[in-house]
Amino acid sequence: MTGGQPPGAGLPGSGLPGNDPRTRTSAGPAAAERHPVPPPSELELSRRAWRRARGRRSTVVALASTLLFAAVAYLVVTRAPGWPRVRTTFFSPTVAVEHLPEILVGLWLNLQVLVVGGVLVLVVGLLVALARTVRGPAFAPLRILATTYVDLFRGVPLIIVLYLVGFGLPALRLQGVPTSPFVLGTVAVVLTYGAYVAEVFRAGIESVHPSQRAAARSLGLSYRQSMRIVVLPQALRTVTPPLLNDFVALQKDVGLISVLGAVDAVRSAQIAVGQTFNFTPYVVAGLLFVLLAVPSARLADAVTARARRRQQAGGLL
């Protein structure tokens, strides 16, 4: 708009204090009365206009390059010699529509495992992380146990844990051991992800500067109180972005419970493939998992960006 402003036209007034964003955002009502924010100068207005124009330009460039890339990819794939065949076996709209309902029903099971498992993973992860960081000789067995658990379940592939838990536990024929693939699958997922998340929590706890504990202890807070009131709240802030990334990974890994015979999205697709000799149901299931993951992935990005901004704001002080 005012992008054509000659440079330097608005110089008078541009040197005024009070344009510091910190004064603007942090000052309470009382402070605002003492230091009213002066109206933006011509110079500042032209800068803002330029930034807006640049923003629009970048959007156009991004859009154009994306479209170009998509067009090239489309042409390369559709001109491949095997494409007509691939299209009918992997991308058949009729097969997709026909089997979508049962795949959706299966996905509902995945979602349940995801929600129940996700919550349990957080609880297990936090408890194990606390067990690993607790000090004192009396807690040595706890620490060793927690460390062994983490080493073990971070190392073993999830699919093997699924087999061992899913088929091994029921084979014991102990009373009270559940046999439902849903429960067993959730247990296996929680065991594996609990180990990962425990490490994330531990890293977060250790990232809180030691002087914070010193300050807490010097106020007379006990170890537990320092942990609960001072260390953990700060650690949780740090670990939220990596936790969200783990959640995205968990979203697709809940599809693995199909190996236990649970009729989830993947298993439903498999059954449909067996009936139709067409692979489209797999593609449908895959797309559904992607649709599930996209919002969480974007959320993770947003939270990470916000955390970075906050850190930088702190660094300016």
Binding site: G28, S218, L219, G220, V230, Q234
Partner: protein, 239 residues
């Protein structure tokens, strides 16, 4: 008191009485162990020999509950150690409510009084990273005072303050001292020590080399090493 770090005795037999209601200023070069001494006194470090006596009780005895002892101390560190996730008011009321079990309303009232005294009443709802360094340090002092400590341990509390604010803090410390507070403070500001302290102790080579009234230690030191230290400080324009 003895404290060893990695085979090096940072403190090798420090003996420093701090009388009730008195203000003792600890001076010495960078790395002479002032912070270490204060950390040992507040039981954040374990001494490697010797004792810390608080009201005649040996608090370095491993059978003593260190948390209980720390409740009787107020500590302000060299670097700001406010809790960044808590507001200024919550920083100040945390220990009184959580550790000392005082009613929240009472603690808030007292905290507001303290914040008014340090001139930051309007910042009660702010988070520490929104405050200047000097403001943060004043809040840290208020937080230490909020537990009504028997002894106040201050580690270079003025080193981050603007000259005009130093006077303010000085007045605050003097006021606190007049109310019967016992203070042990490390400082690089000799003017501050001269004005506020009853006793100045010069820490060098892991021992208290010289201690006495500020006029004597700062004005007419006996030890050549103290003289050399002070002349360097004067050259740096800090006296």
């Amino acid at each position: 008191m003895v404290k060893v770090f990695g085979g090096v005795a940072v403190l090798r037999g420090v003996d420093l009485p701090v009388g009730e209601h008195s203000v003792v200023a600890l001076i010495g070069g960078s790395g002479s162990g002032k912070s270490t001494l204060l950390r040992c006194a507040s039981l954040l470090e374990t001494v490697d020999d010797g004792q810390v006596l608080l009201d005649g009780e040996d608090v370095t005895d491993p059978r003593v509950d260190a948390d209980q002892v720390r409740r009787r101390l107020g500590v302000v560190f060299q670097a700001y150690n406010l809790f960044p996730h808590l507001s200024v008011l919550d920083n100040v009321t945390l220990a009184p409510t959580v550790v000392h079990g005082r009613p929240k309303a009472e603690a808030v009232d007292e905290a507001r009084t303290l914040l008014t005294r340090i001139g930051l009443a309007d910042k009660a709802g702010e988070y520490p990273d929104r405050l200047s360094g000097g403001q943060q340090q004043r809040v840290a002092i208020a937080r230490a005072l909020a537990v009504r400590p028997r002894v106040l341990l201050l580690d270079e509390v003025t080193s981050a303050l603007d000259p005009e604010l130093v006077g303010e803090v000085l007045a605050l410390v003097r006021e606190v001292a007049a109310q019967g507070m016992t203070i042990l403070m490390a400082t690089h500001e000799m003017g501050f020590a001269r004005q506020v302290a009853d006793t100045v102790a010069f820490l060098s080579d892991g021992v208290v080399l010289e201690s006495g009234p500020p006029a004597q230690v700062l004005g007419d030191p006996v030890q050549p090493r103290t003289r050399r230290f002070l002349s360097r400080v004067i050259d740096a324009g800090r006296l």
